[in-house]
Amino acid sequence: GLTDKLQGIFWKLRGKARLTEEDVDRALREIRLSLLEADVNLRVAKDFLERVRERAIGEEVLKSFTPAQQVIKIVYEELVKLLGGQHEPLKFSHTPPTIIMLMGLQGTGKTTTAGKVGLWLKRRGHRVLLLACDVRRPAAVEQLVQVGRQAELDVFEMGIREKPERIAEHGIKHAKDKGYGVVIADTGGRLHTDEEMMQELRRVKEALNPNEALLVVDAMMGQDAVNAARQFDSEVGVTGFILSKVDSDARGGAVLSIRAVTGKPVKFIGTGERLTDLDVFHPDRMAERILG
């Protein structure tokens, strides 16, 4: 992996009395390759390497007996920092219900994730209501109903006969009347470049007034992750991310990109198709994975 490559580079230089900035740059080129292979956005990688370079030059790497280890340590620490340092939990409301809205590009796993998060919260003592706000995709409402049945969670739906913002409005009222602690709203997949659909999402968000507006992002995403994250955040407002399909074994560089461009925390990762396949996001584990 990257560690071996860096060891190799510095091993060739072991005879030198002290390393130069050019030697560090050779190591940085190797790190750049690794980041790009991992799908980190090109520009995000550039900025990241600048920070690593500054620390490497300034931090005694040039005089170190173990420069490879030193550089790896700096890269790892900067990755963890960029990924959010430590786990950030869900934001709960002071007055119930806490409202969570899921959104994202087509096929990222929102409907399945609604069930996963619902189950995760139910197991921690919360009374959860799932809200079916996708009226476009064929059988989307039925899919959430079945997910709810599997996870033994209640689902509020109005078929496809009402607009999503109307369903959101009625769903929240129903949740308050019946004393639910958490509402998780599933919305239809959409492109960040689809003006009408982004407007609809803003209307749904307004009706929900959510405590969390989570963007569900596919871990296999490539360079385009920055664009989607930036647009959803600027046009609708993102409070955090859920990274799905981490079990694809994709290196997951997209997560660095979405963090770099929005600064919002990653709350969970999806690790499979079952409703129990949800884990809390750990920046240190993700950093190790990106490093390969």
């Binding site: 790009l36 991992a38 599997q150 596919d218 296999m220 664009n227 989607a228 694809s248």
Partner: protein, 278 residues
């Protein structure tokens, strides 16, 4: 974006970055640009514009090789098996293909062999109604290979000329699911008397380098005859198919460009390559 008179190191770097941003991948991008540098050194192009055109032509040739037609069987029914990882657009693409086939005067039959995911069968049934194509389905939890087999048998018995088999999304990292896919492929072949006429791997255009592993793993499990690149109507360029073509030679046959039934097009290498550089 590129109007270049002189060829400089800067131009090569810019071209490499453009390819990387399009998800072609750093290794494939470096390989393509170093070959371009070699061509320039040999005197094959003198201006920057000529160099860019040469790179584009090289990419078009790479993507064109191996043909791009959808195969119909020698004896009906034709059978196309649709596979891929979760959420890439398989079910929607089948509806689009059925819509196109109907407009060509053919009689497609849809087979709901995703017996795992919540409401997968319902989704295909609704799409079948919309398109006007019948759907063969069992209950959720049924054996996927059994449904696929029944689908081909039904087409033979009732004279449907193209069978489109929908399968469950499956991660290429799950060995047992790849084994299930092998079983589906074998069983379909048994009913048909030959392998499926197309086994199409559906890839989401926003996927990064992981798509290479997807293509390699799926095609090592069963023969993959073509790739369908979906969601090209977004801002993602889908450049990873360049790396896939380079490494596996699997031809890209179709592109998905939206969610409506008519949002499917034959893959056009020239148009696609222009898109990489936009």
């Amino acid at each position: 974006l590129f109007r270049r008179e002189r060829i400089s190191e800067e131009l090569f770097l810019e071209l490499e970055e453009t390819l990387v941003l399009a998800d072609v991948g750093i290794h494939t991008a470096e390989k393509l640009v170093s070959r371009l540098k070699e061509a320039v050194r040999k005197g094959n192009c003198r201006t920057g514009d000529e160099a860019i055109e040469l790179l584009k032509r090289t990419l078009v040739e790479l993507l064109n090789a191996g043909g791009r037609n959808l195969n119909f069987g020698p004896i009906p029914p034709t059978v196309w098996l649709i596979i891929g990882v979760n959420g890439t657009g398989k079910t929607t693409t089948i509806a689009k293909l059925a819509w196109r086939l109907k407009r060509e005067g053919r009689k497609p039959l849809l087979v709901a062999a995703d017996t795992f995911r919540a409401a997968a069968i319902e989704q295909l049934k609704l799409l079948g109604e919309r398109v006007g194509a019948p759907v063969i389905a069992h209950a959720i939890g049924a054996d996927a290979a059994a449904v696929a087999y029944d689908g081909v048998e039904a087409a033979k018995a009732r004279g449907y000329d193209v069978v489109l088999i929908d399968t469950a999304g499956r991660m290429h990292t799950r060995y047992n699911l790849l084994q299930e896919l092998q079983k589906i492929w074998r069983v379909v072949g048994r009913s048909l008397g030959r392998p499926p006429d197309e086994t199409l791997l559906v890839i989401d255009a926003s996927t990064g380098q992981n798509a290479i592993a997807q293509a390699a793993t799926f095609s090592s499990a069963i023969p993959v005859t073509g790739i369908i690149l979906t969601k090209l109507d977004g801002t993602a360029k889908g450049g990873v198919v360049v790396a896939i073509k380079d490494q596996t030679q699997i031809p890209i046959k179709l592109v998905g460009v939206g969610e409506s039934l008519d949002a499917i097009e034959n893959f056009d290498p020239k148009e696609f390559v222009e898109g990489l550089f936009e």
